[in-house]
Symmetry: C2
Subunit: 150 residues, 2 copies
């Protein structure tokens, strides 16, 4: 998909990413590296926790969401650069889940000091194969204006 | 460190994690998996981007912050379970940075429906070796009450 400039976007535009499967090995590998807690590491032990079974780290869900956005879900010219985000995880990500991301443009704010860019506010919903949200985020994302012909 | 129950905490308590070094190989490996963009992947190409050089994905900084909290930075009984977070990345994380996390308890809200638990609001600042914040987050974290003796 052709990368989009701020000029190409309007409030209300919706984008949908490709899908990505997450398996138990990936969940455990991410947890060993970044979030070594029983409910992300051990299927059996996880059953007696709040999660009732193996669940991905929320940060794994967040990282996969970024992957889906960067690899086509939100094709912005100049790349996907977030300035800040507010996110929640309404449901856990489980082994075998098939995730996709839906993104909606909520606001487009041209920069006052830098005429070549602006800040988008976008809402992303990361959904599993049952259309349950595993992550909902509202994020400030940089967007560039189409360069004027020289 | 002994895991702490909600009863052990008070507003204003501050915790400091251990330190963790991040190197260029780790930055590139995380980016290949989750955030494959030039400024996280290629030292040379990164120089002509907004980042002016190789920088870690913000999600890598977030994941390392979680690692530092889980491995002793915020030792909560029952584990570290976040319900939602609001975060920003004021400065990029660079190869060779030494990160640590400072956490402050901002609020302690006992649950009305579940007497065995409550929700903390905590602010974490992830700092590099120059005490620059590379991530500032405000997060809702579950805490459990000390079980009463049977």
């Amino acid at each position: 998909m052709t990368p989009l400039y701020m000029d190409d976007l309007k409030v209300g535009d919706v984008f949908t990413s490709a899908e990505q499967v997450i398996d138990a090995d990936q969940i455990r590998a991410f947890a060993r590296a970044f979030d070594p807690q029983l409910f992300h590491l051990d299927d059996e032990a996880a059953k007696s926790t709040l999660f009732g079974g193996l669940a991905a780290s929320g940060w794994h869900t967040a990282a996969l969401t970024m992957r889906l956005l960067v690899t086509g879900g939100l094709p912005l010219a100049g790349g996907l650069i977030g300035a800040g985000t507010s996110l929640e995880w309404p449901n856990p990500t489980r082994p075998g889940d098939v995730l996709r991301v839906e993104v909606e443009i909520l606001a487009i704010n041209p920069s006052r000091s830098k005429p070549d860019r602006g800040m988008l506010r976008v809402r992303s919903r990361t959904l599993n194969q049952r259309n349950e949200a595993v992550q909902i985020a509202e994020t400030k994302v940089l967007a560039f204006r189409r360069p004027s012909p020289a």
